[in-house]
Amino acid sequence: MTELAWIDAAFKAARPQALGALLRYFRTLDLAEEAFQEACLRALKSWPKNGPPGDPAAWLIFVGRNAGVDQIRKRSKLEALPDEDQISDKEDAEADMAERLDGAHYRDDILRLLFICCHPDLPATQQIALALRIVSGLSVKQIARAFLVSEAAMEQRITRAKGRVAAAGVPFEAPGPAERAERLGLVASMVYLVFNEGYSTANPDNSNAALCDEAIRLTRLLIKLFPGEPELMGLLALMLLQHSRLKARFDARNAIVLLEKQDRALWDRVLITEALALIDKAMRHREPGMYQVQAAIAALHARAARPEDTDWAEIELLYRMLEKLQPSPVVTLNRAVAVSKARGAEAALAIVEPLAEELSGYFYFHGVRGGLLKELGRAAEARESFDRAIALANSPAEAAHIRDHLDSLADISAGKAKVVVDG
């Protein structure tokens, strides 16, 4: 790696802390961002010459503060300036800087920064866009590409999000324990949204997996800030397990490969090892939460060397637990899939049918129902379900997958296939 690449990695690592501290100082996102960018520019001039500083984040915060104050002076605004005695004009007073940084604020700075991005006034897409821009420092171009919109449209979306945040006001007081827990939950779900944006749109031909990497990096950061939160461990484990299958999720034609058909040799064992350690660690706390349960389900798949080794009975139990923690027809549908593997299609169909009204517009409902009916040899009804699924498919890959089912149905009608019960 070149020196420049290393400096870039240092900027990226320091960004949440530095930007968080500058935000606390200047109290507006735009000024904090400008100050951080200015500090990075000065670092690019100084670091190659003088070597990297002992604490890059401290360096960037300090230089950023000075740069921001200069900016304010230049604009000669009549607003009150920050306290002079907190600012040093000496850019080389580096040892001093680290000491003067208020370590106690570190956690709250970063949390506030993330919290701003998941402001409840913002729609989810704007939350993600803002987080990727502000916390991760992705360029508008990169974010626009991930969301498949034009750069101008994304620029507008981010500007609008910033405007809303500014209008709503940012809470700068240190949050109490209850509020912190609540914020942390919001932040965790926002990070998971970032991950899902990457996960659902990633394929071997694009770089959207970078969004997954970014979400994973942010969650590792959160765990460092809040080391005893089992739900954060669960969230990280869940993302690592899903991400470990990246190479196996698509075939040569970029079509989706279902879990049971994936080549498990392509799963990333390093990510799986880390995830299994995390989920075991989380369980020791005995505070189950939805991320932990979902991670535990994904872990059972990861532990099975072959699809037929999967512990479907345990997965069914975990889905029951998830239904209690987070009741939703989609979770029930997932439990039905586990039931079909553990106890057969008949039992599963009994769980699926009552969901018909709530999930009538849901691709997977019709896909699963069609699959169960097919297993039971009720070909005509299965065909009806598959047809509805195709009409609701979100991508050509999903439609192609259902079409494969329809093709095999043709075999059933011809009396060639028999009912198959897995595992």
Binding site: A9, A13, E274
Partner: protein, 124 residues
Amino acid sequence: MLYAILCYNEEDVIQAWSKEEDDATMERLFAVTNRLTSESKLGPVARLLPTTAATTLRKNGKEKFVLDGPFAETKEQFLGFYVVDVETLNDAIAISHELADANPGTGSYEIRPLAVYVPDGRTK
């Protein structure tokens, strides 16, 4: 003489590497370890998973606690180690230089002589 070369670096920075940067670094390190292996100087090599995946058993008098992670307040984290079999400390330092060259950015390498060494049959 057996030495352990303990590698420390800033985990945050390592984690900010892109996949390509990480792969390139590992490739440079493999070049060093492959040569050491061919010279029969290399023992076990380990790259540790992130500290967030770690658990610590801490003994406090008679009481023992299991804690999440090391989460040391130090800036640099213990990220991996090499065991090398060489004649002198200078040889071990020379190898550390090579490892440092293969790694980008900053970092430090603690060179510690080994007192007990139990080779793992599985690695043979």
